[in-house]
Structure formats: C-alpha cells, structure tokens
Symmetry: C2
Subunit: 133 residues, 2 copies
C-alpha cells in the first residue's frame, strides 16, 4: 500500500501520551478475540504496508513483528478503527497460536461461578515456540 494512502489512515488514529494505540486482534476465520496489544505509528505503517501484523512491545520497548521469534505470525485481513480513534480492530490469519503460553487465544481463563476456569488448553509447548528446545 502506498505511503500517501497510509498517511490518510494514520491521521485518524489518536495515539495516547506514549504514542500508542490499543489493538484488538480477532481470528478472521473463527471470529474470536485472540489478543490485545499495542501499536505505535511505525507498527501501524509497517502492518498496512507489509500485511504482516507488527506491534509495539511495551515491556521490551521495541517494535515487534508478531511471530518473528515464535513463527506464529499474523497476516492482516482487515483493519478497523473505533469511533474515537484510540483502538484498532485487526482481523488476522493466525499461524499456529496467538498466546505465548501456546494457546490459540490469550483469553483462556474464564470466570464461572466464583472460579477461574481454563477454557483453552496448550496446543504448542512454549519452549518449542521460543527455541529453548
């Protein structure tokens, strides 16, 4: 996608005081929410340019192409923006699992009748994802 086009989009984004916008990632096929993360302006631009979803890691303070270490990449299918411009909704083709715990979604714990219940099991061992084995 051309840079001038992307400028049009970026102008609609209301980055917060840290220069970040919240991003909700949804599995394009199944429609369920996989994760919530953050993008800075460069991550938004690289995602739209390349089709590979990039985020800003607040803990590491670096730009991060999803899956660059784990191989669990996200290919952008669509990007929407909310009414006040401070949250993006990306629909993605998720390769493998979205969560660093090896589950398909980060939202694998649900509150049921006074208890936190595990709703999604580990599909890939985290050690495999991060090259410790």
């Amino acid at each position: 996608m051309a840079g001038a086009d992307i400028d049009v989009f970026v102008r609609e984004v209301r980055f917060n005081g840290d220069g970040l916008v919240a991003v909700v990632a949804v599995d394009d096929k199944r429609g369920d929410v996989l994760m919530m993360a953050w993008m800075n302006e460069e991550a938004v631009r690289r995602t739209l340019q390349s089709g590979d979803v990039h985020y800003w890691s607040r803990s590491r303070g670096t730009l991060w192409r999803k899956g660059e270490t784990s191989g669990q990449t996200q290919t952008l299918k669509s990007m929407a923006i909310d009414c006040d411009g401070d949250t993006l909704l990306v629909r993605v083709e998720q390769k493998g699992v979205a969560c660093h715990t090896g589950r398909r979604t980060c939202f694998y714990r649900e509150w049921r009748e006074g208890k936190l219940v595990i709703t999604h099991e580990v599909e890939v061992a985290p050690d495999t994802l991060y090259g410790k084995k």
Copy 2:
C-alpha cells in the same frame, strides 16, 4: 456473586498505573467486537456483583454503568482475562447499540484499498440516545 469470590478474580487483574484494566466487549449472540473501554477495580466488582456492565470513564473521571444515560445497557454473559491479566474480555447482551454514534459497534470504519469505509450505519439517532430530543 459473593464478595469473597470476587476477591479471587480481582487478585488476578493487573491494573495499570492509573488503576485501570482494558476491557474488550463482544456481542454474546453475534460474536463481534462492540467496543473497547476501561474498568477500575470498583467497575469490575460492580459488574460481577450486579451483572450490569460498568466501566470507568477516563474523559469524565467517573464510574459509569453502561447505558445509564442512553438506556443502551450491557448485561454480562461471561468474563475472561488474558494471559498477563491486563485485559478483560466480556461477552454481553447489548440492548440497542453500543456506540455513542448510534451504531451497533464502535468499529464502524474499516480501511479498504486506501480509504476508510463506513461499514455500519447509524441505527439510533445520537440525540435520541442522550435526551436532546
């Protein structure tokens, strides 16, 4: 739900420096993302206690029962928490529309081929929602 049970849940939430946790609200029937907002600890507790979804309004600096002015309430169907505890995912029964613009979702603008396209039309006039008419 009993207070002691809710304590168990609240201990899992990693509130940010402002005492807030991000919340993604999904329509329980259709499965689509309606909005992203924030809860403080009291909003989490009131939501779990009452079944009426409460948020913290960052712009107004107040606790806010969704729909208290507009009538467009959210009834909690389930609450999940992500791997690092800083985002909640609520499935809700949305009465009417979630967005203050009168659309069913706040994510009504999608990026398509270099343009922002309106994907959801206004269902209820905002003036009706907020009592100006």
